[in-house]
C-alpha cells in the first residue's frame, strides 16, 4: 500500500471530476522515515527527500508545513529542499535566534475562486535538538508565534488553515484561543485517519501515516462558522444533566457524601464521577447557550464533507510521478550497491537455507513454496535489490550482517531463509547435538519486518501455520 504515484493519480482524477478550485496541502513530517538519520543511509535518505519534493512539485502541492521531523538532516538541508520546491515550506515559529523573524515563510495566501485562503504552520519544539550553533535558529513556543500570524491572516484571508505539528492537546487549546482558525490539519501525531471533528469553531483532522491514505474534503465556504446542530446538542446535554441531577438527588440524604461515604469507596467513586459529569455538562450547556445566542440564523453556515481514500496497490499510477520514483529507485540502488561493495567481508555466522535443507528436508520443501523464499526476487524485479531501506527484510540474516555479506555471498542468502526466524545456523550445523536453535519462534521476530506500516494483514498464528515448518 502507499506510493506517491498513486496519490498523484487520484489527486489529478479528483480535481478533474469535481471541477472546483482545489487546494493541496501537506502538514509535514514528509521527508524522513525516522526521528534521526541513519548513519549508513544518510545519502539514501537525502536523495529520497529530493525525490519526494520533485513528485510534490509535479502533483502541484500549494504548501507544506515544516514538522520537527523534517529538520533532522539539518537546517541547511531543509533550505536546499525548499529551494528545490515549487511550493512554500511554512513555519510561523521556526525563527532566527537573534531577530526572532521566521526563517521560512510564516504563512501563505492562496486565491481559490472568489476567496483567499490563508495557510500557516507550527513546528513542534519538544525533543528537538538538531540545530547547530551557526544556524542561529530556534523553535518558538506556539503561544509566542501564533498571535501575530493569526491577526495578519484574519485581515487578509477568508478561510484560515493551520498545518500543525503540535500535540493534540495544544491543537485543542488553539481552537479555544483562536476561533479565527477554521481548519487544523495535524502531523506527527502518529495515529490513523482522524475525520474532521469540531472543537469550538475549528475542524481538526489528519490522515494515517506513510502516505497510505489521502484526505478529501469538499468545502462550501460561506465566510461563516461551520454549520452544526447546536440546538440538538444543547437539548441532549440538558436531558443528560436531568438524569445526573436525579441520580445525585439520592445522595442528598447524606449531609456530606464525601465524608459519609468514606467507608464505601465504590459508592464514593460513583458519587465523585457523577459530580464531575454534572460540572462538565453544566459548562457545556453554558457554552452552547452562548454560541446559540451569538449565532446569526439568517446566515448560511459553511459546510463540508470529508472522506479518506486508501492508496491500495491495485490503484493506477501517475505516469510522470512513476517516472520520478523509478528514477529515484535507480539512484538509491546505485548508492546502495556502492555502499555494499565497500562493506564486503568474509565470515558469517549464517550458512544459508540450502545448507539447512541437508538435514531439514521437509521444512525446506515447505519453505521453498513460501513467499519468504521469493522475498529477494520480488525486490530485484522492482529493481530495488540494493535499496538499503528495503533490503534488510528481503535477505537472510540482515540484522547481524553487513549488507555486502547478504548480497554478495551465496545465492541462498538472497531470500528470507530459515535463519531469519531460527537464528544463525553455522555453529548448529557444526555441532548439532551441542548447539540447538529454537524451533518455536516468538511473534516479536516476525514483527521486525511485518510491522503495521508494511503489513496491515499480518496474523502471527495464521501466517506461521501457513509456513508449515513443522517442528522436528
Amino acid at each position: 500500500m502507499g506510493g506517491l504515484s498513486k496519490k498523484a493519480f487520484q489527486f489529478e482524477k479528483l480535481i478533474d471530476q469535481e471541477k472546483i478550485p482545489a487546494l493541496i496541502l501537506d502538514s509535514g513530517s514528509l521527508l524522513f522515515k525516522n526521528t534521526e538519520l541513519s548513519i549508513k543511509q544518510t545519502e539514501q535518505e537525502q536523495v529520497t527527500a529530493f525525490g519526494i519534493v520533485k513528485s510534490y512539485n509535479r502533483i502541484g502541492y500549494n504548501a507544506v508545513g515544516i514538522a520537527r521531523e523534517d529538520l533532522i538532516a539539518g537546517l541547511d538541508f531543509l533550505k536546499k529542499i525548499s529551494e528545490a520546491s515549487d511550493f512554500p515550506w511554512i513555519s510561523a515559529n521556526l525563527v532566527d535566534t537573534n531577530t526572532k523573524s521566521p526563517i521560512f515563510q510564516p504563512n501563505v495566501l492562496i486565491s481559490k475562486g472568489s476567496i483567499t485562503v490563508g495557510v500557516t504552520a507550527l513546528t513542534a519544539a519538544d525533543l528537538f535538538v538538531g540545530f547547530k550553533e551557526e544556524d542561529h535558529a530556534t523553535i518558538l513556543p506556539w503561544r509566542e508565534a501564533l498571535p501575530g500570524v493569526v491577526e495578519e491572516l484574519r485581515q487578509k484571508a477568508d478561510l484560515i488553515i493551520l498545518l500543525s505539528n503540535l500535540p493534540v492537546k495544544d491543537n485543542r487549546t488553539i481552537t479555544e484561543l483562536y476561533p479565527e482558525i477554521d481548519i487544523i490539519l495535524q502531523a506527527g501525531v502518529n495515529s490513523g485517519n482522524q475525520p474532521p471533528q469540531l472543537f469550538n469553531d475549528t475542524l481538526i483532522c489528519q490522515t494515517g501515516k506513510q502516505g497510505k491514505q489521502i484526505g478529501i474534503m469538499k468545502i462550501n465556504w460561506q465566510n461563516t462558522p461551520w454549520g452544526t446542530d447546536k440546538e440538538g446538542q444543547l437539548d441532549k446535554n440538558k436531558k443528560s444533566l436531568d438524569r445526573i441531577n436525579w441520580q445525585l438527588s439520592k445522595y442528598e440524604k447524606y449531609k456530606d457524601p464525601l465524608v459519609v461515604l468514606q467507608d464505601n469507596p465504590a459508592r464514593l467513586a460513583i458519587y465523585k464521577d457523577l459530580v464531575f459529569r454534572q460540572k462538565k455538562l453544566e459548562e457545556e450547556i453554558n457554552k452552547l447557550s452562548v454560541q446559540i445566542a451569538r449565532s446569526t440564523p439568517d446566515k448560511t453556515p459553511s459546510t463540508y464533507t470529508n472522506r479518506f481514500m486508501a492508496m491500495e496497490t491495485s490503484l493506477p499510477d501517475h505516469k510522470d510521478v512513476t517516472a520520478i520514483v523509478d528514477q529515484l529507485n535507480e539512484e538509491l540502488n546505485r548508492i546502495g550497491k556502492k555502499q555494499i561493495s565497500r562493506n564486503e567481508n568474509g565470515t558469517s555466522p549464517y550458512i544459508g537455507s540450502e545448507n539447512c535443507a541437508v538435514c531439514h528436508e521437509y521444512q525446506s520443501t515447505s519453505w521453498k513454496k513460501s513467499r519468504h523464499a521469493r522475498a529477494y526476487e520480488t525486490l530485484a524485479n522492482s529493481n530495488q535489490q540494493f535499496n538499503l531501506d528495503c533490503l534488510p527484510c528481503h535477505v537472510t540474516g540482515s540484522g547481524d550482517l553487513d549488507m555486502g555479506d547478504a548480497v554478495n555471498l551465496s545465492k541462498s542468502f538472497q531470500a528470507v531463509g530459515c535463519e531469519n526466524c531460527h537464528g544463525p545456523g553455522r555453529r548448529h550445523a557444526q555441532m548439532p547435538a551441542a548447539v540447538s536453535l529454537p524451533a518455536q519462534i516468538p511473534a516479536a521476530t516476525c514483527l521486525k519486518c511485518h510491522t503495521d506500516d508494511r503489513d496491515d494483514n499480518f496474523d502471527f498464528a495464521e501466517d506461521v501455520r501457513k509456513l508449515n515448518c513443522l517442528p522436528i
Binding site: I20, A22, L23, D26, S27, E69, Q206
Partner: protein, 56 residues
Amino acid sequence: MKELFMNKPDNTYTVIIAVLLTVFMLLPSLLTANTSGQDILLLYSNDVKGETAPCG
C-alpha cells in the same frame, strides 16, 4: 409611449427584448450569488515519512 415605440426602427425592439430576456435569465443566479458560497476541494496528507513506493 405608444408613439415613442412606434417611431423606433425594428432592430431597437429586438435589442430591448434581448436585454430583458438576458436580465430575466440571469436574475436567479444574481439573487443567489451571495448565498451559494465558494466550493473548494481540499486534498490533504501528512506523515508521509519518506515513503515513496512499497519495496517490492
